[in-house]
């Protein structure tokens, strides 16, 4: 019955009103954090479809038919950008037949354009791994970026849905204030983490480390996008003598085995953080995401 309704309702809606029978706005978010941001700013004025989960490698997403269907319905698409979605998003945009979300339209929000990017490579060569020319695209782990992107999102929503502009403005202001207070709190809580050297998995948590002042002294991946190898893990064991790390921080979408092995060898704890919302039982929205990550790191440090 539900499946039938899933088909029939929009069909009837389309025929009757020429628009899908969902919320006033239909938003396509490539990653869960952007879906959560839309929920913060747009509330009930938008229904959000999220293309990926915290358990997936965001670089290896397939151009699934369901993504084309939802992109077809979308009034706005929001994504990390900096080529994170380069493997599927161009196909989705082209096949959707939806002019509202094409590059250059208000309905196409590339979040990376509104935040300062870190780790911009000086040299572009694929022998260095799957490097992103514009910089590290995993911008979501710095909560200050959520305020920056939220501000742009508020403006875009107001252009697409002028009737909701006052509401977007009010919700954005409230979000910004709550987030600013939370950021101050997190910075205090995370004070003991400052200067704590870590070993990461992929560069998916770089923005968090950058924000909290935690130096990264090694990565499980020998090169971005290249799986950990035995030889490289042995190098990390050696490196621990020269540049000692205090924590290994993998993400929810990665194989836990290399970090567990390394943890046993160099006797430092593993503190696995959610890649994004949904990557741990605690990470339910933007606020609990950073909360969960910082608590996990602190717990790791004190263990």
């Amino acid at each position: 019955m539900n499946r039938l309704l899933k088909w029939l309702l929009p069909l009837v809606g389309t025929l009757a009103f020429g628009a899908p029978a969902f919320g006033a706005l239909s938003v396509f978010a490539c990653e869960p954090e952007w879906g959560a941001l839309v929920n913060e700013i747009a509330g009930d004025r938008a229904s959000v479809f999220v293309a990926t989960t915290a358990m997936q490698n965001p670089h290896l997403v397939q151009a699934r038919p369901s993504l084309i269907a939802h992109a077809r319905l979308a009034d706005l698409i929001i994504y990390s950008g900096a080529e994170l979605e380069v493997g599927y998003l161009p196909v989705i945009l082209q096949q959707s037949g939806n002019d509202k979300i094409q590059v250059g339209k208000p309905g196409n929000l590339d979040a990376s354009k509104y935040v300062p990017l870190i780790e911009v490579p000086a040299v572009l060569d694929r022998s260095l791994g799957d490097v992103h020319p514009q910089g590290n695209p995993h911008i979501h782990y710095d909560p200050r970026n959520m305020i920056r992107v939220g501000e742009e999102l508020k403006k875009r929503l107001a252009v697409i849905d002028p009737a909701g502009a006052p509401e977007y403005e009010a919700r954005y202001n409230a979000f910004r204030d709550r987030m600013s207070v939370a950021i101050k709190q997190w910075e205090q809580e995370a004070a003991p983490l400052k200067g704590v050297a870590v070993i990461e998995n992929h560069k998916e948590v770089s923005y968090l480390f950058h924000w909290l002042g935690m130096p990264v002294v090694g990565a499980l991946e020998p090169k971005p996008g290249v799986e950990p190898t035995a030889a490289h893990l042995v190098e990390l064991v050696e490196n621990q003598k020269v540049h000692p790390a205090k924590l290994i921080v993998p993400t929810s979408n990665r194989d836990p085995k290399p970090s567990e092995w390394l943890s046993e060898q160099i006797k430092i704890p593993v503190a696995p953080v959610p890649l994004t919302i949904g990557g741990s039982p605690g990470a339910k929205d933007l606020f609990s995401l950073y909360d969960d990550a910082i608590k996990t790191l602190l717990a790791g440090l004190n263990s």
């Binding site: 088909w7 084309i68 269907a69 196909v91 037949g97």
Partner: protein, 473 residues
């Protein structure tokens, strides 16, 4: 530090011992005891002082190390802040299109002569080819694509063949701004019929294409024309499309390894096609797309050979015909939690039926007879590629072609029906150290030809340079 002090005490005590032995009176003994105590206290004070000095020095060293680390962290923060400034490109080539080059080569080992390859009942010897013996450069592909403006995007794909010829595989524009789920494409492009047909060779899961694709469509059936596609406004993927084309080659017929030319010299379209695709996710781990498609072409007065067995081995030609192709396809992908990094499975199955209706001429030395002719042939395959490790995939494929039905009309008596089902079994394993490289090993047991088992072994490399391409589902 402590150790020398302890030695000093011990030595002092040792020196004092004979002194004590010589002392007789109680007062003397008390004096000596007092002196010893004083000495001991003195040394202990000095030891404590030295220990304190040592601790201070250690603290200072630690503090220095700490501030060095702080300085380094500050420097790194400064560096990252500096990096944070987005690069401003003012180069005149900033608008250059995205370029991507595919390098591809194979080593092939065939137990039967590939130049004499036939698919019994479907393609005569030499019409199509399963590959080349020994080392050979495959097709190098050059892709160029960019947005033309706010309304159109453009793309071209050149195939640089190993025999030093260049062919324009695709060169098309596509609309960006029609909206309402509509996309119009024009130029030369691979037809959207079936599943595998529109996939470029470098993205195939096997070295070679399926037998049914080889027998009916070749590596990729493309045409010059226009195509309109509509995605329905539904939360489930439903896509309907159609294309009109020149029909420059005839499906199901090949000559010397190439699709048989079908020139028309007439206004209007020489080929029409249509398709319907439906797809969705099943949970978070599974996704699928199913499709049906149709293609219709006319030969006009052009004459084509058919691979018919005739009495006396006389030649057969086919003209004034309609050739229709019906297809059904399924692609199913699975990855645990939808995470394609560590494990995933891709299953593809396709079925095609070709229906020929036209005039058949048999020419036994000067006594040509022409009559109505109808034929239905079909074929299918199922293949799976399982990525069991981030770098390795294992693939299996089964191909089969069916002779179907034939109505030879007045020539029926002179046609000997073929009773053979061409088949092929394939297994491949490939290593993908990154998204840009692939080394593949494949074995085929090819039973395309009656009374012949061709054992084929391939080693192939596929490298991708330049822009990171996006692939369709």
């Amino acid at each position: 530090m402590f150790r020398p002090s302890a030695v000093a005490i011990a030595m002092t005590l040792a020196l004092l011992a004979p002194l004590a032995a010589r002392a007789q009176s109680k007062s003397e003994l008390d004096d000596i005891r007092k002196q010893i105590r004083e000495l001991k206290d003195d040394y202990e004070r000095r030891i404590q002082a030295l220990e304190k000095q040592l601790k201070n020095a250690e603290d200072a060293a630690a503090a220095a190390q700490g501030s060095a680390a702080k300085a380094e962290a500050a420097a790194q923060a400064a560096r990252t802040e500096a990096e944070a400034v987005p690069p401003r490109q003012s180069a005149p080539n900033a608008f250059n299109p995205a370029l991507s080059l595919i390098l591809n080569g194979t080593y092939g080992n065939f137990s039967a002569d590939p130049e004499q390859y036939t698919i019994t009942g479907f393609q005569p010897p030499g019409a199509t080819s399963p590959g080349v013996r020994g080392f050979s450069l495959g097709e190098s592909e050059l892709f160029v694509t960019a947005n033309v403006d706010h309304l159109f995007m453009g793309a071209m794909n050149l195939a640089l063949e190993s025999d030093n010829t260049v062919s324009v595989e695709e060169a098309y524009f596509q609309t960006l701004a029609l909206g309402h789920g509509l996309t119009l494409k024009g130029g030369r492009f691979f037809s959207s019929i079936g599943y595998q047909n529109s996939i470029h060779a470098h993205a195939w899961d096997f070295v070679d294409t399926s037998l049914v694709q080889r027998a009916f469509l070749g590596n990729n059936y493309g045409d010059d024309g226009i195509q309109l596609n509509w995605v329905a406004p539904l939360p489930v993927f439903v896509e309907v499309g159609g294309a009109l084309g020149a029909g420059t080659t005839l499906v199901g017929n090949f000559v010397e390894g190439q699709p048989a030319p079908n020139p028309r010299n007439k206004n209007g379209a020489g080929a029409g096609s249509a398709w319907l695709h439906v797809g969705d996710d099943v949970g978070v781990s599974n996704s699928y797309r199913v499709g049906v498609s149709y293609l219709n072409q006319g030969t006009g007065g052009n004459v084509f050979p058919l691979d018919l067995d005739t009495v006396g081995g006389v030649a057969s030609t086919f003209t004034n015909a309609q050739v229709q192709l019906y297809g059904a396809d399924l692609v199913w992908k699975w990855a645990p939690n939808g995470n394609y990094q560590y494990q995933n499975l891709k299953l593809v199955a396709e079925w095609f039926q070709i229906r020929r209706t036209g005039d058949l001429t048999l020419d036994p030395t000067g006594a040509a007879t022409t009559g109505g002719f109808k034929q239905r042939q079909s074929g299918w395959y199922v293949q799976g590629a399982y990525q069991f490790d981030p770098y390795w995939r294992l693939g299996l494929r089964y191909d089969e072609l069916q002779q179907g039905t034939m109505d030879g009309g007045i020539n029926a008596a002179n046609i000997i029906p073929v009773d053979y089902t061409p088949r092929r079994y394939s297994a491949m394993i490939d290593w993908n150290p990154s998204e840009f490289s692939r080394i593949r090993f494949q074995y085929n047991q090819d039973l395309s030809q009656q009374n012949l088992t061709d054992r084929q072994f391939f080693v192939q490399y596929i490298f991708s340079l330049g822009t990171h391409g996006a692939h369709k589902f």
